[in-house]
Amino acid sequence: MTFLKSLLIKLAIPLLSIFFGFFAGAIIMLVSGNNPITGYAALFDGVFGDIYYFGETLRMMTPLIFSGIAVAFAFRTGLLNIGVEGQLIVGWLASVAVGVMFDLPFVIHLPLALLAGAVAGGLWGFIPGILKARLHVHEVIVTIMMNYVALHVSNHFIRNYMLASGQRTEFIPATASLSSDFLRGLTDFSRLHWGFLLAIFACVVMWFLLWKTRKGYELRAVGYNPNASSYAGMNVKTNIVLSMVVSGGFAGLGGAMEGLGTYGYAQILSSFTNLGFDGIAVALLGASTSIGIFLSAFLFGGLKIGAANMQASANVAPELVEIVIALIIFFVASSYLIRWVLNRLQSNREGK
């Protein structure tokens, strides 16, 4: 009974937040002279109206799930990883580099390329991790700085060693590719690729790692209370580093999804991909839980894909979606309000 009730509240908060977010978006559309019903109909249509767009939504979700997991994983261990963006960029580059440079059978090539992405991202996470653990350097600044370093370094590598045409590298060969004719066929030629299944798997892995393993227990303990953890004989420093490495590894895999799945190459980036920064929002909306991340990545992916249709067929500026996302996060974060209202309702009922 209490379990049901708490589950209900847990669900009510995000659902109500999403509702309020869309509601506020509708008001903005009204005020700016658009019809919110056509606007949202177009948005909805842009996600579910055609299997192609649905496929694209799932494709868009894929890196968001990884970056969301990356943020959440660090968050669970008390660290704020703003550097997912950079870790994702180096992961993208490294996976494509392995994809392009080697000539191997599929069963080795693809895993190796994925591994390269994870390792590169992990390395990018290792630096702020070790600095935090050894020298108490604030991870937020280091990760912010590492984002810029990643952007420039990866552009440098592509420009000088891997440039094929225009701004990008060679295409990776089929042996390193995640793209799936089956999934494409299923979704009418969307770019949905096997990475989507990997992302689901990653959700399970995160859940299992954090909640079912010894290491996960330690990581959470360190996150909640480093003092008590060191009293209990855990190595706080190692765990901080490990957490950043794993987090970076997930982020790097997110980059590999783009490199080996969506695009099939790496490119000179003239600005950040924002996939990493969006990951912060995905993780927060998903309350740093696996299932939450999956669902909020779907919401974000859908909003992003649907926004184009909203603009195309209802003439609503795509920025509206960003406003809606912001408001949803706001309401989720302010769940105190919703909780308070729910409590009020409940105690009124019990009072009678």
């Binding site: 079912k212 393993t213 010894r214 290491k215 909640y224 008590a228 009293y231």
Partner: protein
């Protein structure tokens, strides 16, 4: 009647709990009025209501006969009510003066703080009431006793006439407690009235005029202290009889379990905190460490359990040297450790009670297999210990945060004792707990001693050290300056040793 304070039928609710239920408290002018009750009885809540931090749901407050609405601490200040909080309300990084003047700062004509004038004023008041403080010192650098004097000065600076002390003695050394009692008497002479919350019945009996008892949020009654005794107060409070003397036989010490030789430890600021310390604890005895806070107790414990590096010297446990091993290695060589700050070091408050109980053993078989946790086994174990150690919790999956201090402490003790360590280090094991919980913990410690464990007890509570220990080692400036027999040493004598003095008489080492 000339009551300065009357709180009549106060009711205060928190979500899901009634903290004060029709409690009445009447304080006469010029008296020290004790407020007594178990942990969580609602004492602090009642005082926070009086101080304007909480708003009561029901009830009336009269100050000097006039009904008032105390909507926030400013109103309380204006009414002349000051409060010394259970958990100090001091800002570590500020100086003593800054802490005192906060919210009431003297200004120069340029609008900045007139810090000179403030310091002078602080010096003046502290002189007046005999409260020695250094106005320019940072709070993080001064002793707990001085911090408390700062708290008192804060109220006096604001011209408080009615002072509330919430468990002021829990953190003080005997000397400091004595000084505090003197200060209180002085305050009375100056015409102030005092409300004192304490769990120590002896203190109530020695300084208070009247005592109001609350139990589970309800007022039980008010008695004249001169007409009551320890047992009556205790049974009013708990609702049953309590024994105060720890029943124990003489110790039968056996082999040396912990042996420390010439230990030197530098603290975090690289100051020598332990300075050539020697100590032995034998199986089957309780060795109590008596000392004023800040003489190296923390560093001693942390060095033994491996959390601080020893610069030189050796630590041996059951014949194996453990100097500078990792905490886990040390723990595995047979140490149990009840840390002094249970929230900071003892528990992961956001873990469940069960996860906390396994905090030292989660990685061992059968709780972990191949790196994977086996939760059913963990919870099975936790359930057993919760029962055995009478940890009052809805179930083993409840967050540790939701437990009261006493029950949190019991969970820690369950965890540490159950591993059957050769050496059990108990640092401040009963700090801030009520008599019921204290009784339980004391019994448990003696039980373990009688099973042949070596117990190292560190406590600022001299009574506790004297009651439980078979030998008392006095620590002063990082050295053991004397080891004495509790049966033949008086409190005064211990006090002298703790202050760095020497005993004229037979204080031979034993």
């Amino acid at each position: 009647m000339d009551y300065v304070i009357e709180m009549i039928n106060i009711r205060k609710e928190f979500p899901g709990i009634v903290a004060n239920d029709e409690v009445t408290l009447q304080v006469k002018k010029g008296e020290i009025h004790a407020l007594l009750g178990e942990n969580g009885a609602g004492k602090s809540t009642l005082m926070n209501v009086l101080f304007g931090l909480y708003q009561p749901e029901k009830g009336e407050i009269k100050v000097r006969g006039k009904t008032v609405q105390i909507t926030d601490p400013n109103v309380a200040n204006d009414l002349g009510i000051g409060m010394v909080h259970q958990h100090f309300m001091l800002i570590d990084k500020f100086t003593v003066t800054e802490n005192i003047i906060l919210g009431n700062e003297p200004k120069t004509k340029y609008g900045n703080i007139d810090i000179r004038k403030a310091e002078k004023e602080v010096a003046r008041i502290s002189e007046l009431y005999g409260l020695r403080v250094d106005p320019k010192a940072k709070v993080e650098d001064i002793s707990v006793g001085m911090q408390q004097r700062v708290e008192i000065l804060k109220t006096l600076y604001r011209g408080a006439e009615i002072l509330i002390f919430d468990e002021p003695t829990a953190v003080l050394t005997p000397q400091e407690i004595k000084e505090l009692m003197e200060i209180m008497k002085k305050l009375l002479q100056e015409g102030k009235s005092i409300i004192l919350i304490t769990h120590k019945l002896k203190e109530i009996l020695s300084v208070c005029d009247r005592c109001t008892v609350i139990r589970r949020g309800r007022g039980i009654g008010t008695v004249n202290v001169s007409e009551t005794n320890q047992n009556e107060l205790a049974s009013m409070m708990v609702g049953r009889e309590i024994s105060f003397v720890v029943e124990k036989e003489d110790a039968k010490p056996e082999d040396v379990v912990l042996k420390i030789e010439d230990l030197v430890v530098n603290d975090l600021r690289n100051v020598r905190a332990i300075d050539g310390l020697n100590l032995e604890v034998k199986a089957g005895e309780v060795l109590g460490i008596a000392g004023v806070d800040g003489n190296g107790q923390t560093e001693l414990v942390e060095a033994i359990v491996g959390l601080q590096k020893a610069s030189s010297g050796t630590i041996t446990i059951s014949g194996n040297e453990t100097t500078n091993l990792s905490p886990r290695k040390v723990t595995e060589s047979g140490i149990g450790h009840i840390p002094q700050d249970r929230h900071k070091h003892g528990l992961v408050l956001d873990f469940s009670v069960g996860e906390n109980i396994l905090l030292q053993t989660y990685y061992q078989h059968p709780y972990t297999k191949n790196g994977v946790l086996y939760y059913p086994k963990m919870y099975e174990k936790a359930k057993r210990l919760i029962e055995e150690y009478d940890v009052r919790t809805p179930n083993e999956r409840t967050l540790a945060r939701a437990l009261s201090g006493g029950n949190q402490q019991k969970a820690i003790i369950a965890r540490e004792v159950d591993r059957s360590p050769n050496l059990l280090i108990a640092a401040q094991p009963t700090r801030g707990l009520d008599v019921g919980a204290i009784e339980f913990i004391h019994r448990k410690i003696i039980e373990e001693r009688d099973k042949g464990r070596a117990i190292l007890l560190i406590s600022f509570e001299l009574d506790e050290v004297r009651n439980l220990s078979d030998r008392i080692a006095v620590i002063y400036e990082g050295k053991i300056v004397a080891v004495v027999d509790p049966k033949t040493t008086t409190e005064q004598e211990l006090g002298i040793l703790m202050a760095g003095g020497k005993l004229e008489k037979e204080g031979e080492p034993i």
